[in-house]
């Protein structure tokens, strides 16, 4: 606390000069007298009257006590008054010395608190028992040790954000960031885990991986669910890939086997954007969907926001997947080597110099080599075998606890090929798909003295996607290469006791070059009544075009904490001017020069989130937002699409609540509705205008609810049940009725659990149920005499469904602990009941018979991971 206090302002003394006083003296510099401690402690107040001799220059020549209030008060007043400066008195308009009587009042005032109080309890994560002797450190240097009942207290904490570390030799170190307000007490409860293998968890890295699942949400302050890294790896069916946990979250549809698509709240996969450390990347999973594009050891948290996300992000009509990576290890060398049937990977993280640490990781698939070695056939003829690799590297310079500069990059490569021979040249098929991307970034983050956070992230990216194939004599080529430029900068801080605000800039520019050859219907779009293995139309075209698109979106968001922090109102707004330039407005004919097209617009996108904590156990939430997404580069071809396409728009609205049923059991529900306008669809006209094969006349809507019942880790057991019910529809251009969206999935139910048996053994189980995707039925066929093939005649679009999906997966693992490392071996068995789940509908050559393409049979995956 600051010493003593202020006092009341003094009054001016009497005029002592005979000649006319034209201007009385005026205090120019007031010096506060320190309140005598003994008097303050006694709660005494007093007034000391003194006589002050003021010179013609305004200085104090002499001062003496006229009415004493006691030696302590007298001495304090005299010392302060001797330092006073006055504007000198004027007699007959001339500066003149003067003597005045002055009363100095000593008054005890209530001070506005300038520090916070920090108190809390430390408990055993497993059983909730209090833990004594746990050291609680603040990054200010203050610390405390928990007592016999687990309680600790630290007074005089500077306001702002501070890092809290809890440690004890036999405990897993826990770090958290807390925000302190002057005059307020922060009460926190920490559940920590033991290190020893006989207890709950293993002794993984010091930095726990957090999977932050945000069901309806906007910010980390709104409803979220966390899953520990070790928990995520133990979920059956993930084969140890932490980011695969996203597929088990509420709101996420079950993707077709091997597709790796992320379908959230009925939005198309391309409408949900994926960010790694703030940089947009084109996909989350490698081809086949078996592995994510980033090594699990590097992942700190993944956040799925199915809708209603805040002003910091935009340009996507669906949801967000945000992956944050860990800081490089600054204490010692950490790493791992892992191998299973599919791929091999390694990671290393270590300090390399004072205040400098680095991480590097790499992974490569080898399933193609394994299959070629154990099968005698040319396996590629029958099964496309994805080949992939990825790598990440970063160097961090951290001169202070809350300041760092990081240089990093990542790369990923995917390729899959297949060919189908046939005696009929028209049925010979071949296809090669590839997707490579690289990212490089420089990140700067620091915390300001008032607890604010500044972040600047410029980044560069290169994307190359290729599709080359032929169905008989009909070629299909779609090559798109792009260079991406991004800048994300923000400041977040407490601007008032009740208000935290963030302001920032999200800038992104993409320069693309594309080439396409083939049928306008290949690849098919969402909404096309595509029948599996149906030959594409053999009417073909070609085009090459370039696009440049850019948008720079300043945004601001405020978090108003009201009703003693029970109510949070978080309004935000994002102003997004956007432009797209296309190299060709219409197809070029002959030697005529190409004329480009330029489309621009500016949108104001409001966002709002509200969270109300009715009690410590019950929280309600709501969110609203308007969103926009520009046309894809692939769609602005003059021959295959429309260079004049405008942005599509969407509105999200959601409500929900979270209820803690007990210490370790919670349920969360969300009801949502999304609508979208100006979606890109095929032009239905019989005579479309040139360069208008696509239009902005589509509409969409989805509505539903999701539920999550979660058991936190306790006594070695954790699990959850996630259920989503929804309906997603589209209305195509020229249609009056809505039809089911291609990715509509009415029910999705996931139930999973994991149990630590002790002695390094653990087991897990996962059950899934999902409604099948809609499909368009074939109601007849006719013979095409030119191509000697049958063509299907179709019924109502998306009026039937693939049968429901049901699967049970189990996992078991054993961890061996050595002196400074550990080895985990695991067996992950998918579809343990060997159920024949239909994945797609297949027809015979004349479309008179229908059967299902079945997905995975029983599939055991064995793997091992050594960590050091």
């Amino acid at each position: 606390m600051k010493p003593a206090l202020a006092q009341n302002a003094p009054s001016t003394g009497e005029d002592a000069a005979r000649p006319r006083l034209t201007k009385p003296p005026k205090i120019a510099k007031f010096v506060e007298a320190p309140y005598p401690e003994s008097e303050k402690a006694a709660g005494r107040t007093a007034s000391v009257v003194v006589q002050i001799a003021i010179s013609a220059t305004g200085t104090v020549d002499a001062v003496k006590v006229v009415e004493s209030a006691g030696p302590a008060f007298d001495e304090a007043a005299l010392q302060a008054i001797r330092q006073f400066l006055f504007e000198p008195a004027e007699v007959n308009n001339r500066p003149s010395p003067i003597r005045i009587n002055y009363r100095y009042d000593f008054v005890i005032k209530e001070e506005a608190p300038t520090t916070a109080q920090f108190a809390g309890t430390v408990r055993n994560h497993q059983n909730g028992e209090a833990l004594a002797g746990v050291k609680v450190d603040l990054d200010t240097g203050a610390s405390a040790v928990s007592d016999a009942v687990g309680h600790f207290q630290i007074d005089g904490v500077e306001p702002g954000a501070h890092r809290v570390t809890l440690s004890r030799t036999d405990l897993k170190a826990l770090q958290s960031e807390e925000h302190f307000e002057a005059g307020k007490k922060l009460d926190a409860t920490y559940d920590v885990e033991f290190n020893t293998p006989d207890k709950a968890a293993d002794d993984g890295d010091a930095d726990d991986l957090e999977i932050v699942i945000v069901a309806p949400t906007l910010t980390k302050q709104v409803v979220s669910t966390k899953v520990d890294a070790d928990q995520a790896r133990r979920v059956a069916g993930t084969s140890g890939d932490v980011l695969k946990i996203v597929e088990n979250l509420p709101g996420v549809a079950r993707a077709t086997a091997g597709s790796g698509q992320v379908v959230v709240w009925g939005a198309a996969p391309e409408d949900t954007r994926v960010y790694i450390d703030g940089m947009r990347v084109p996909l989350l999973y490698h081809f086949g969907g078996f592995r994510s594009v980033i090594h699990s050891d590097l992942v700190h948290s993944v956040e799925l926001i199915p809708g209603g996300y805040g002003a910091q992000y935009g340009r996507g009509l669906g949801g967000l997947v945000k992956v944050d990576t860990r800081a490089p290890s600054s204490d010692r060398l950490h790493g791992s080597v892992a191998v299973d049937l599919i791929d091999a990977s390694t990671s290393v993280s270590a300090p390399v110099a004072k205040q400098v640490s680095a991480t590097i990781a790499a992974r490569r698939s080898h399933l193609d080599s394994v299959l070629h070695a154990v099968t005698s056939k040319d396996i590629d003829q029958f099964f496309p075998i994805p080949q992939y690799y990825d790598g990440q590297a970063r160097v961090r310079y951290q001169p202070a606890k809350s300041t760092y500069l990081e240089l990093g990059g990542m790369l990923s490569s995917d390729e899959v090929s297949r060919s189908t021979p046939n005696t009929d040249p028209a049925l010979r098929k071949r296809e090669t798909r590839g997707l490579d991307f690289q990212r490089a970034y420089l990140r700067y983050e620091t915390e300001t003295s008032d607890g604010g956070k500044v972040s600047v992230l410029p980044w560069l990216g290169w994307d190359q996607s290729t599709l080359t194939g032929a169905f008989g004599g009909t070629p299909t080529v779609l090559d798109v290469s792009s260079r991406d430029y991004g800048l994300r900068a923000s400041y977040r801080g407490r601007v008032a006791p009740f208000l935290t605000a963030e302001a920032g800039l999200d800038l992104e520019a993409v320069s693309s070059s594309a080439r396409r050859v083939g049928s306008i219907t290949a690849p098919p779009r969402e909404g096309d009544a595509h029948i599996f293995s149906q030959a594409p139309s053999d009417l073909v075209n070609t085009d090459r075009w370039q696009t440049v698109s850019a948008s720079a979106a300043p945004y601001v968001e405020g978090d108003f904490a009201l009703l003693e922090d029970h109510l949070h109102i978080i309004p935000g707004v994002r102003l997004e001017p956007q432009f797209t330039s296309v190299s060709k407005r219409v197809p070029v004919e002959g030697s005529a020069p190409a004329v480009g097209e330029y489309v621009s617009d500016t949108a104001l996108e409001p966002r709002l989130a509200i969270r109300y904590a009715l009690s410590s156990r019950v929280t309600f939430k709501a969110a609203y937002g308007q969103y926009r997404q520009a046309a894809q580069p692939e769609d602005v071809s003059a021959s295959f699409g429309n260079p004049s396409l405008q942005s599509s728009r969407a509105t999200h609205l959601l409500f929900g609540g979270a209820f803690d049923l007990s210490q370790n059991l919670a349920v969360e529900t969300t009801v949502f509705r999304t609508t979208s306008e100006d979606l890109v669809t095929r032009n239905p006209s019989l005579a479309p205008f040139i360069a208008q094969a696509l239009t902005n006349q589509g509409q969409g809507r989805s509505y539903g609810a999701q539920f999550l019942l979660r058991r936190e880790l306790a006594k070695g057991f954790f699990g959850w049940v996630a259920y989503t019910i929804l309906r997603a529809e589209r209305r195509d251009a020229g249609q009056s009725e809505y039809r089911l969206f291609d990715y509509d999935q009415t029910h999705v139910l996931t139930a999973l659990a994991s149990y630590d048996l002790g002695k390094g053994f653990d087991i897990g189980v996962r059950g899934r149920y999902a409604t099948g995707y809609p499909r368009t039925p074939v109601i007849g066929s006719y013979y095409d005499l030119r191509t000697a093939s049958y063509q299907p005649q179709l019924g109502a679009k998306n009026s039937i469904r693939i049968p429901d999906f049901v699967e049970l997966d189990v996992r078991g693992s054993k961890r061996f602990k050595f002196q400074s490392s550990s080895l985990e071996i695991y067996l992950d068995v998918q579809n343990v009941t060997n159920r024949q789940n239909p994945e797609e509908i297949a027809y015979n050559a004349d479309y008179t018979q229908r059967r299902y393409i079945e997905g995975l049979p029983l599939l055991p995956v064995f793997g091992a991971k050594w960590e050091f």
């Binding site: 205008f689 006719y782 998918q830």
Partner: protein
């Protein structure tokens, strides 16, 4: 193709790994079907030949159908024909507007009746290149130009028609290649293309022979080749070789030949009845020479073929034959074979043979 659910434990490891590969694809195990489209079980239109194989707007073509029936010498079936006038919307993934498959007379604005019979004459509409070709649809004042139809991989466009078996009301879709002015070329490019492009000629099956030491030809009717019940005949269908370079006097009016430079070949222009070379405009508007692929569809009233369709793709165009195998049925009697030969530019013709299956 490997089965999805192995019955042999001994191969479980390899199949498990293959199943793992299945998971990494967007497709699981594709089921197999016992299709036997080669065996004629009911009256079917198997082919329609247009003569000439390629015609310009306003020109006449003669359309002749091949109708197969399960009985070897059945009476011919009644056919009804209609010329389609309906443009295909971009939302249609099939080859034509679905109204083209309706019966003639139901929608006169969409289908022009051509009459009935095994063969009819049709005059191509004057606006066929606007409806189905590279000419832009008519636009109203102030509106942008319409989007022309995309060509097929050979650069061609087709006028659709329907042919209906009156007894069963089953309609099949046929097409006539239409000769339209090229689009998107400057004068020099158009001139180069026009001087080199030759209209399509229907391919002709030169012979069907048994692949044995004597290369025994399967005779035309009324002669019959005798085979035993259950016997497997390796068969070879052959067509004419086409010259890769135009040669005056070879009877074929090739690229860069005309009435002036080669009157003997081009006074009455005739193409090659095999895998013809043809001029093609690539994506850089450069005229290239490509070669047709040839496909042969095999049909029979009984027995079974190893493959329903065989052929040679463009890269194999120097080859002038394709092989198959036919297995005679277990019952004796006459069996009729039909072979339909098609080229990549929509031309087709057919031949029929009769085999006598003996015990």
């Amino acid at each position: 193709m490997l089965a999805c659910y192995p019955t042999s434990p001994a191969r479980f490891a390899a199949r498990t790994l293959s199943a793992l590969a299945l998971m990494l694809t967007a497709v699981g195990c594709v089921p197999t079907f016992d299709d036997n489209l080669s065996t004629i079980s009911h009256a079917s239109v198997l082919a329609v030949q247009a003569e000439p194989a390629e015609a310009a707007p306003g020109e006449k073509v003669q359309l002749t159908a091949l109708v197969a029936t399960p009985v070897v010498d059945a009476a011919s079936s009644k056919l009804s024909w209609g010329l389609c006038l309906a443009r295909k919307p971009l939302t249609e993934l099939g080859p034509v507007n679905p109204v083209c498959l309706e019966q003639p007379g139901q929608d006169p604005s969409s289908i022009t009746p051509l009459g009935e019979g095994a063969s009819v004459s049709a005059t191509l509409p004057q606006d066929t290149c606007r409806l189905f070709g590279p000419s832009s649809p008519e636009s109203k004042n102030g509106e942008p130009a319409g989007r022309p139809v995309d060509p097929d991989p050979t650069g061609g466009f087709y006028q659709p028609f329907g042919v209906t078996l009156v007894d069963t009301s089953v309609t099949s879709l046929g097409s006539v290649r239409i000769s339209c002015p090229p689009r998107g070329l400057d004068q020099e490019q158009a001139g180069a293309f026009t001087s080199q492009y030759r209209r399509n000629e229907n391919p002709v099956l030169a012979s069907l022979s048994v692949i044995d030491t004597e290369q025994t030809a399967v005779p035309d009717e009324p002669a019959k080749l005798t085979v035993k019940v259950g016997q497997t005949l390796p068969l070879r269908a052959s067509w004419a070789a086409c010259p890769s370079e135009p040669t005056c006097g070879d009877g074929i009016c090739g690229a860069l030949e005309d009435k002036v430079s080669c009157a003997s070949d081009c006074t009455t222009p005739k193409g090659c009845t095999g895998a013809e070379p043809y001029a093609f405009i690539d994506e850089n508007s450069v005229v290239q020479t490509r070669h047709e692929s040839i496909r042969v569809s095999w049909f029979a009233t009984a027995g079974s073929y190893a493959a329903a369709v065989t052929g040679r793709e463009e890269a194999e165009s120097a080859q002038t034959s394709t092989d198959n195998a036919w297995t005679a049925p277990a019952e004796s009697g006459d069996v009729r074979l039909w072979l339909v030969i098609r080229d990549a530019r929509g031309g087709q013709s057919f031949r029929s043979f009769v085999l006598s299956v003996q015990p």
